[in-house]
Symmetry: C2
Subunit: 362 residues, 2 copies
């Protein structure tokens, strides 16, 4: 099985090759690649070694054991920070599985929990098994710093629902701005002019983007932005309830509320029920995330589906084996499509009149 006999060409990249390329000894390469403690190697040499290893496509233990010839080429690692807390990760995994199915690829999933001690272990467990590609996902859309061990060897890597500052890897995230925009536009197209929104925790990227989308939709429809109609929530049903109450207490309450996630919408529903208002006749509501429960609310909630299935597929499709050092990838954005259910209707005639009046005669 081992190709290089005595006089043959290398056929496999060995530490010797790297040493030659990096201009140092095999021992040094071993030290660097294994990060052996207690050895003094300058950062420059370390960099050169890693670069050479990457460039030559060095794979650990290529020669050892059967790993190389037992078909393990087709294992794709999938690291996610949280698996159990929300269904998105599962959906993304399913998308990745579907996309890699016909190619006969196997997915190996692990949870990092963003724990500084567990994450390296988890990724190590993945990579040391000889994966041929890595998908790195976070539950919340955010910027991440890929630890060095992720990009150690040049396995193709794709970021799912996150991105790095240097854009060194292909990355895909939901298009939250477009999502916020289409949700709001949906309400506008039903004839609403006075549309409130209850945001999530505003420091989160998703909340900011959905709000941006909201403002954009208003602007596109030439509806002036009214800060009074934006209430800062925190993704929770409780905040949804309180925020809705605040909106209802306004001198000119809205005729529609864009809740920036479904849990907020649940609180919103409660508040409207307590206030004696009917959905959608007296108040239209849209949610976001398309959680399971939104199908079972009365009336069923119009909301946006997070495109995690598509993101999983996208990730698989963009696992390019060619490693182009220094290349920069734009962040791909996939659409959050609106699923229309029964929580949106045209504003009541009188309300519309009043509001139209308010606009025409300031």
């Amino acid at each position: 099985m081992r190709k290089p006999k005595t006089q043959n060409k290398p056929a496999r990249v060995t530490m010797m090759d790297i040493a030659a390329a990096a201009g140092c000894s095999q021992a040094a390469v071993s030290f660097v690649l294994n990060d052996t403690p207690g050895t003094r190697i300058s950062q420059q040499t370390r960099d050169r070694v890693w670069e050479a290893a990457r460039a030559l496509g060095y794979m650990e233990k290529t020669y050892t054991t059967k790993a190389s010839y037992s078909g393990l080429d087709n294992v794709i690692g999938f690291a996610v920070d949280q698996l159990a807390t929300s269904p998105e990760a599962i959906v993304a995994i399913e998308g990745a599985r579907q996309a890699s199915w016909n190619a006969g690829n196997v997915l190996l999933v692990t949870q990092t929990l963003s724990d500084p001690v567990m994450e390296p272990k988890a990724i190590e467990a993945l990579t040391s098994g000889g994966i041929s590609a890595l998908i790195y996902m976070t539950i919340y859309t955010r910027q991440v710093e890929l630890p060095s061990y992720v990009c150690k060897l040049n396995i193709p890597t794709v970021l799912l629902n996150c991105y790095t500052a240097d854009h060194a890897f292909p990355a895909v995230v939901p298009s939250e701005i477009a999502g916020g925009q289409s949700s709001t536009r949906h309400l506008i197209m039903h004839g609403h002019h006075r549309i409130a929104t209850i945001t999530g925790e505003i420091w989160m990227q998703a909340a900011q983007d959905r709000l941006t989308g909201y403002r954009r939709a208003l602007a596109t429809a030439d509806i002036p932005f009214d800060p009074e109609l934006v209430i800062e929530g925190d993704w929770s049903a409780g905040a949804g309830y309180a925020s809705t109450m605040k909106l209802l207490a306004l001198k000119e309450p809205p005729t529609a509320i864009f809740c920036q996630n479904d849990r907020t919408a649940i609180g919103c529903y409660e508040a409207l029920k307590d206030a004696g208002l009917r959905i959608p006749q007296d108040m239209s509501v849209v949610g976001y995330d398309d959680e399971e429960i939104s199908r079972h609310l009365v009336p069923p909630l119009t909301t946006s589906v997070l495109p995690h299935l598509a993101m999983g597929q996208w990730a698989i499709e963009h696992l390019n084996p060619e490693s182009t050092p220094g290349k920069r990838y734009p962040i791909a954005k996939l659409e959050c499509s609106l699923v229309k259910r029964h929580s949106v209707a045209a504003p009541r005639a009188e309300a519309r009149q009043i509001l139209d009046g308010a606009y025409t005669s300031p």
Copy 2:
């Protein structure tokens, strides 16, 4: 880092050790373990080598790369047939994670989909990464045949929600009989005598067991079993609706219905609503599975939680490193605890009178 210097004790199991134990050469061990094609080794020797390897706890590529000292001993493989179709797998994984967390173990999850070509690949991907233990889970409780590649090296293996005919591995399943029994008993304790049940697809173990529990609870309370009150469903809401309608059409309709899963209960709710009956005043209902939605039904559904979290923990706790060939393990059963919500009440006085009368004067 490598312990055995020239004169030291082995500290790691090497092919030499196996060769000594099996009474052959290191080369022979290499041939056997790698299944090198084109070599002639008798079956007896192969067996001896594997046995010795198992007994000594040989781990592939122990010496090579950092695998040995980077904590890869603590990787636990988790193979499940379906990941996305239902939340149970996730819950079990979470249980396993929690239980192995403090020990610093990493979980590596893969999906087999019960596909004859994917499953070997998936498990191979897991094992070749050097896992130290394997948990094998199925979504539906059932008997499985562990393919040979699962038990190749003596990594401790536990079966979750499934079991083998030969009981060669520790296995844990939910105690469905006890669950059916306690659900029914709960209704009996509220004063119900005429209790119907809508089963799942009866060929499934779970459906049979839940029915058995139902009958046992009746027997314990000295309530005669009435086949008229058992309707065969198929786990679907549609069947729940139809079955409930059938029950309501009975000459002596029940005062309580034990739906053997939550989806059935949803159909049951619908049917009762359509029939103008109130829950729980006119009809008590209990479900099974504690799906997310049962919390949001009106009234919230009393149901049983599948103990998948506990099963995940149990699995981790029973990953005994000691391999006792030929040992037989009993199948462990974990309780499905009843979560009481608002779908059960005492039967209405008149109904109770009628029924009591029916019993006392046959």
